[in-house]
C-alpha cells in the first residue's frame, strides 16, 4: 500500500520560505502570484496488509515524526 502525506503550516503561522519565493517570483515579473505557502509532500510505501493497519500506522507516524504538530497540520491518503 501507499500513502501520500501533505504537511502544511497551520493557518496564521509565518512562512518565511513561501514569502521569499513569492518575492523572487515578483522580481522575476510574476506579479500574478499573490501568495505562496511551502509545505511537504511525502510518499510512504507500506507493507501493511489492511487499510485499517495502514490508517493506524499513518496516523502515528504523522503525529510522531512527519509533521511537527505544534506548527503544522497534515492529511494523508492511503491507496
Amino acid at each position: 500500500m501507499q500513502a501520500k502525506v501533505y504537511v502544511t503550516l497551520k493557518k496564521g503561522v509565518h512562512d518565511p520560505q513561501g514569502e521569499a519565493v513569492r518575492h523572487t517570483l515578483a522580481a522575476m515579473g510574476h506579479k500574478d502570484v499573490a501568495g505562496v505557502r511551502v509545505g511537504k509532500y511525502i510518499e510512504v510505501a507500506l507493507s501493511d496488509k489492511t487499510h485499517e493497519e495502514a490508517e493506524a500506522t499513518m496516523k502515528e507516524i504523522c503525529e510522531k515524526l512527519l509533521a511537527n504538530t505544534v506548527i503544522e497540520s497534515y492529511r494523508y491518503e492511503i491507496s
Partner: protein, 738 residues
C-alpha cells in the same frame, strides 16, 4: 479581543495582573483601561519586561568601570577596548519557547539576541549558547536537544555569524524546563553608539523589517508563567524565525547607521511594538503617536490589541531625523524589506495609539515604565539546604578499577566531547575564529588590529543548588579562568539568571544568594555587569530547576598572536600545575556520575589565589613561555589531563603525570576545586614559568611530561589515548541515538 470588551476581574487575572496591580493601573490611567491598554500594561508589567521580583537585588551588581560605555538598561552593554573600538554583548534566555517548540524557540532566541546587538550599531561577530537539558534518558530530552541545537545552528549559520562557544549540561532537574541562553557579541566604532531613544518632537517613527502577524501574542506573559500540566497546549503562539530576513535587516540597519539619519533605534523583542514605543519614549522623556493602520501586516483583520502585543520576529523601530524618511526608505527597499512611517515623536509624555482614525490606547509613559510593580518577595533558606551540604566522605566507596571509573566519567553526558553540538554550528564564518570550540574560551581576532576578543559562558548549577552564593561566585571565577587560559584579560560580564518561581521564599533566597555571589566575584575580578536577563518561573508541577545563573564573560588580548590552546604540543614538554591542590568531592561530577549523589559543599572561591593563578597564566602566555594552558574544572585533574591529550587537532599525544598530594585516590584524580590550571612548556622554559608564578603569588610545580600513547597518572590510571578518545567522542552521538 475587540475594543469594546468589558474589563472583568477574570480578564484582569487572565492577563496575569493582580488586583492590587489593577488598582494601580486605574489610578495611573485615571479611568478604566480598555482592552488594548490592559494588554499593554500586562506585558509591560510582566516579570519578563518589568523585572518586578528581581530589581531589588539586581541593583547590587557592580556596573561601572573605566571601560564601561553602556551599562545595564539598554539593549546591550558596551565596553571600550581602545583604539576607538568598542564591543557590545548580551545574553538572553528563550527557555519556555524552546521547550514548546525546540527548533523555532531556540532559533528565535538567537534572532532576538542578535537584534539586541545590532540595534546598538555593532556588527555581531560571535554567538555562544548555554544549554541545559533533562536526563539524557528522559523521553523528551533527545527531541529537545536535537531541535534546540539545530535551531541555534539554523539561525546563526544563515546569518553568517559564527557560534564559537557555549556549554551543554544534562540533569534531571531540567526534565520539564530546559534552558536555552543565547549570547551575542558585536564590534563597533566607540563613537557611534545607537540608543533606543525617541527624541526630537516631530521626528518620524519608522517601522522596518518583517510584517506583523499574530505570532507570539502573550509570549511575554508566557515567559513569566509557571508551566502547568497543560503547558504543552499553549501552542499556536509559537513564533517562526526567519534568519534570511534578519540578515537583510542587519545589513540594512548597519548601512543606515553609517549615515546620520537615525536618532534612536530599538528592536521589537518581547512585547513587540508595545515595549519599543514605550521604552524609546521613556528614555528620551518624550511621547509618541503611532497609527496602527500604517503598520505592515501579514494577516487580515488584526485588532489593535493583537498588533500591539504581537511578537513577530525580525522587526525594528527607528526614530529618524525629520526629512530623512526617504534615505531610510531607499536603504530598506534596496534590501527588499518593509518600511513604513507609523508615527511621530511628541512631547506630551504619552504614547497614543491610533487605529481607523480613533485613539485606541492613550497611556502616560513614565508611570507605565517606572511605576511598574516592585516586589521585595519573602526570602527563606530552603529547609533542605544544610542537609544537602552534608557529605560524609567515608560513605563514598573508593572504586576498585580507576581506569574504568575514569573512562566512565569521560563518557558521562556532562563531560563527553561536545563536538556533536558545535559541528552543527558554523564556527568559522567571518574568518576571525582563532581559537575554535573545544578550548577553554573562544578567541576572535579583530581584523585591522592586533587585538583579540575572548568569550566564554560558564555555570555549574549543581554547585549553585548546593550553595547558590559560592556556586555563582565560582561561575564568575571559572569564566575568568577560562579567559585567562587563552591569554585574555577578563573585562566584563553579562548574565542570564535562570531560577524557579520567585513567589516561593526558597527560590527568592537562591536568587538573592546567587546575585550576591556574582556581585562579590565581579568586584574581585573587576569585571562589571553590563547587562543580562532574568528568567523566573522555570518550574513544572512545582519542581524547580537548579538555580542556574549563567555567566557570559568577555576578555581582551592586546596581541592576538599571543594566545594559548589547551592541547599538548610536543613530546617531552614539561607539564606544570599552577595553583595548589585542595580538591574535594562536594558537588563534584565524579560524585554525581559515578556514585549518583548530589551532596556536599561546592568549592569556596579563594579570590586571592584565583587572581594570582590567572594572572600567572596570562603573564606567561604573553611572554610566549607556554605551549598549552587548560583549567581544571568538572571531573578534576584526570579529566583535565585527558582533555589536553584529546583536543589536539592533529593526532593525540598522551602524558605521564605524578601527583604527590596526600589524599585518597579518587579525590586526587577527580576531586574539584577552583584556581587550578595545567600548563605545558618546553623543558627550557619550565623554570622561568615556575619563577613567574611564584613571583605573582601562584603556587606552581612540575607534575609530568607530554608524550606517548598512554595517559598515566601515578600508578592509578593508565589508559591508551585512543581508547579514551573513542569513549569520550562517541558518547554524545550515542546519547542522541546516532
Amino acid at each position: 479581543m475587540m475594543a469594546d470588551t468589558t474589563i472583568t476581574p477574570k480578564l484582569v487575572e487572565e492577563h496575569g495582573i493582580t488586583e492590587e496591580e489593577y488598582r494601580h493601573i486605574e489610578s495611573v490611567m485615571g479611568r478604566t483601561p480598555n482592552i488594548t491598554e490592559l494588554g499593554i500594561f500586562s506585558v509591560m508589567w510582566s516579570e519578563h519586561c518589568s523585572y518586578k521580583s528581581s530589581r531589588v537585588y539586581l541593583k547590587n551588581f557592580p556596573t561601572t568601570g573605566s571601560r564601561v560605555l553602556q551599562g545595564p538598561g539598554e539593549n546591550a552593554g558596551i565596553i571600550d577596548i581602545g583604539d576607538g573600538i568598542a564591543v557590545a554583548f548580551k545574553m538572553e534566555s528563550h527557555n519556555h519557547p524552546s521547550f514548546i517548540e525546540p527548533y523555532q524557540g531556540a532559533a528565535t532566541g538567537v534572532g532576538g539576541i542578535l537584534r539586541d546587538i545590532f540595534t546598538m550599531g555593532a556588527r555581531p561577530i560571535a554567538n555562544m549558547n548555554s544549554l541545559r537539558f533533562g536526563d539524557p534518558t528522559h523521553p523528551r530530552t533527545r527531541y529537545l536537544a536535537k531541535g534546540v541545537v539545530a535551531g541555534i545552528g539554523g539561525y546563526g549559520n544563515t546569518m553568517g555569524i559564527p557560534t564559537v562557544g557555549g556549554e551543554v549540561a544534562f540533569d534531571p532537574c531540567y526534565n520539564g524546563n530546559i534552558l536555552v541562553n543565547a549570547f551575542t557579541l558585536g564590534v563597533m566604532d566607540s563613537s557611534r553608539i545607537y540608543l533606543g531613544k525617541a527624541s526630537g518632537v516631530g521626528n518620524p517613527v519608522i517601522y522596518v523589517g518583517s510584517k506583523t502577524g499574530r505570532d507570539g501574542i502573550h509570549g511575554a506573559t508566557m515567559a513569566s508563567d509557571v508551566f502547568g500540566e497543560g503547558g504543552e497546549e499553549r501552542r499556536p503562539t509559537v513564533q517562526v524565525g526567519d534568519p534570511f530576513t534578519e540578515k537583510l535587516l542587519l545589513e540594512a540597519c548597519l548601512e543606515l547607521m553609517a549615515t546620520d539619519a537615525i536618532v534612536g533605534i530599538q528592536d521589537m523583542g518581547a512585547a513587540g511594538f508595545t515595549c519599543s514605543t514605550f521604552e524609546m519614549a521613556d528614555r528620551a522623556g518624550s511621547g509618541m503617536v503611532v497609527d496602527l493602520d500604517k503598520v505592515p501586516k501579514r494577516e487580515e483583520g488584526m485588532t489593535p490589541y493583537e498588533i500591539m502585543l504581537s511578537e513577530s520576529q525580525e522587526r525594528m523601530l527607528i526614530v529618524a531625523r525629520q526629512g530623512r524618511e526617504d534615505d531610510v526608505r531607499r536603504i530598506f527597499e534596496k534590501w527588499d524589506l518593509d518600511v513604513a512611517v507609523v508615527g511621530q515623536v511628541t512631547d506630551d509624555g504619552r504614547v497614543r495609539v491610533m487605529s481607523e482614525g480613533r485613539v485606541v490606547a492613550d497611556i502616560p509613559v513614565a508611570p507605565i515604565v517606572h511605576e511598574a510593580p516592585l516586589y521585595e518577595r519573602p526570602v527563606a533558606e530552603p529547609s533542605w539546604q544544610r542537609e544537602a551540604q552534608k557529605l560524609d566522605i567515608e560513605s563514598v566507596e573508593i572504586p576498585a578499577d580507576m581506569n574504568e571509573t575514569f573512562l566512565k566519567l569521560m563518557e558521562s553526558p556532562n563531560l563527553a566531547c561536545k563536538s556533536w553540538v558545535w559541528e552543527q554550528y558554523d564556527h568559522m564564518v567571518m574568518t576571525n575564529t582563532v581559537v575554535t570550540p573545544g578550548a577553554d574560551a573562544a578567541v576572535l581576532r579583530l581584523k585591522g588590529t592586533d587585538k583579540g576578543i575572548a568569550v566564554t559562558t560558564d555555570c555549574n548549577s549543581r554547585y549553585c543548588y548546593l550553595d547558590p552564593y559560592a556556586g555563582a561566585a565560582l561561575a564568575v571565577a571559572e569564566a575568568a579562568r577560562n579567559l585567562s587560559c587563552v591569554g585574555a584579560t577578563p573585562l566584563a560580564i553579562t548574565d542570564c539568571l535562570n531560577f524557579g518561581n520567585p513567589e516561593k521564599p526558597e527560590i527568592m533566597w537562591q536568587f538573592r544568594q546567587a546575585v550576591a555571589g556574582i556581585s562579590e566575584a565581579c568586584r574581585q575580578f573587576d569585571t562589571p555587569v553590563t547587562g543580562g536577563n532574568v528568567s523566573l518561573y522555570n518550574e513544572t508541577k512545582s519542581e524547580a530547576i537548579y538555580p542556574t545563573p549563567t555567566i557570559g564573560m568577555v576578555g581582551l588580548l592586546d596581541d592576538v598572536n599571543k594566545h594559548a590552546t589547551p592541547w599538548w604540543k610536543d613530546e617531552g614538554d614539561v607539564i606544570l600545575l599552577l595553583g595548589a591542590s585542595e580538591p574535594d568531592l562536594g558537588g563534584s561530577e565524579y560524585l554525581y556520575a559515578i556514585h549518583k549523589r548530589v551532596a556536599g559543599r561546592p568549592p569556596q572561591v579563594d579570590f586571592d589565589r584565583e587572581k594570582a593563578v590567572q594572572n600567572a597564566v596570562r603573564t606567561c602566555i604573553r611572554r610566549g613561555l607556554l605551549r598549552s594552558a587548560h583549567d581544571v574544572s568538572e571531573g578534576g585533574i584526570a579529566v583535565a589531563l585527558a582533555e589536553c591529550s584529546l583536543t589536539r587537532p592533529s593526532g593525540m599525544l598522551a602524558a605521564t603525570v605524578t601527583l604527590t598530594d596526600d589524599v585518597r585516590p579518587d579525590v586526587l584524580l577527580f576531586g574539584e576545586c577552583g584556581a587550578r590550571i595545567i600548563v605545558s612548556t618546553t623543558p627550557a622554559d619550565a623554570q622561568a614559568v615556575i619563577e613567574i608564578a611564584r613571583e605573582l603569588g601562584a603556587p606552581a610545580r612540575e607534575i609530568g611530561r607530554v608524550g606517548g600513547r598512554m595517559l598515566a597518572v601515578n600508578n592509578l590510571i593508565s589508559v591508551a589515548v585512543a581508547e579514551l578518545h573513542q569513549r569520550w567522542s562517541s558518547a554524545m552521538p550515542k546519547l542522541m541515538g546516532e
